[in-house]
């Protein structure tokens, strides 16, 4: 789906979608806080325009916002995401530990977040090729007999 959207519009589109969903949630919730959804839509619109403008700038942030990062900018983004994930996992663990110690009822969101980050990490290891190194060539007995070093 993303290939049909111009790179510069991808991040603003994701931001717009998230903002509309958030605003819709406030609207569905009902009550006298319906105006929060309007504020959320206004904030989203401002953010989308700002992100689109940023995407046109000749900076690292502009390249990230415009989804046109080169290998270095992608590496920076990847490291930042890894840091964010580490902080999320650490914070979740601390929150879970504190919640257990206080016998609080709000322990489970921390556990869910911790499990998601943990399983996400394991899925990443599996998906990105750990344990795909193959068999070492010296495990082949044919090759060992043919090796000039071995004879």
């Amino acid at each position: 789906m993303m290939t049909f959207i111009s790179p510069r519009l991808r991040k603003p589109a994701i931001y717009a979608l998230a903002g509309v969903l958030f605003a819709a949630a406030w609207l569905v919730r009902g009550g006298n806080l319906w105006w929060v959804s309007i504020m959320a839509l206004i904030g989203t619109a401002v953010g989308v325009v700002r992100m689109y403008q940023l995407g046109g700038q000749d900076t690292d942030e502009g390249a990230r916002a415009g989804s046109r990062g080169d290998e270095r900018q992608q590496m920076i983004s990847l490291r930042s995401r890894a840091l964010a994930c580490n902080l999320t996992a650490i914070t979740s663990f601390i929150g879970l530990t504190v919640a257990i110690a206080l016998n609080a009822v709000w322990w489970w969101p921390f556990l869910v977040t911790l499990l998601i980050t943990g399983y996400g990490y394991l899925f990443g290891l599996s998906n990105y090729g750990v344990a795909e190194e193959g068999t070492p060539d010296d495990a082949d007995p044919e090759r060992q007999t043919r090796s000039p070093i071995g004879s």
Binding site: D58, A63, G69, D70, E71, R72, Q73
Partner: protein
């Protein structure tokens, strides 16, 4: 790791932005590579070396730990 990108670029009268456009990377990345803050991937290193008609080992010197050209 020392590299000769800045030297080669200025010899050819190219700006960092022009080199970046030719290599298909951002100007900021060219600046980072020239200053030694970022080591390019092997494909990008080959692209850089080919652009300047040099070999990778002529373009990048692994024996010199000091960054920059």
């Amino acid at each position: 790791m020392r590299n000769r990108i800045r030297e080669q670029r200025t010899q050819r009268g190219l700006s960092q932005a022009e080199l970046a456009g030719a290599l298909g990377v951002s100007r900021q990345t060219v600046i980072s590579i020239e200053s030694g803050r970022y080591l390019p991937s092997l494909p990008l290193a080959f692209t850089i070396a080919r652009f300047f008609d040099l070999t990778v080992d002529k373009m990048f010197d692994p024996d010199d730990e000091e960054a920059g050209a």
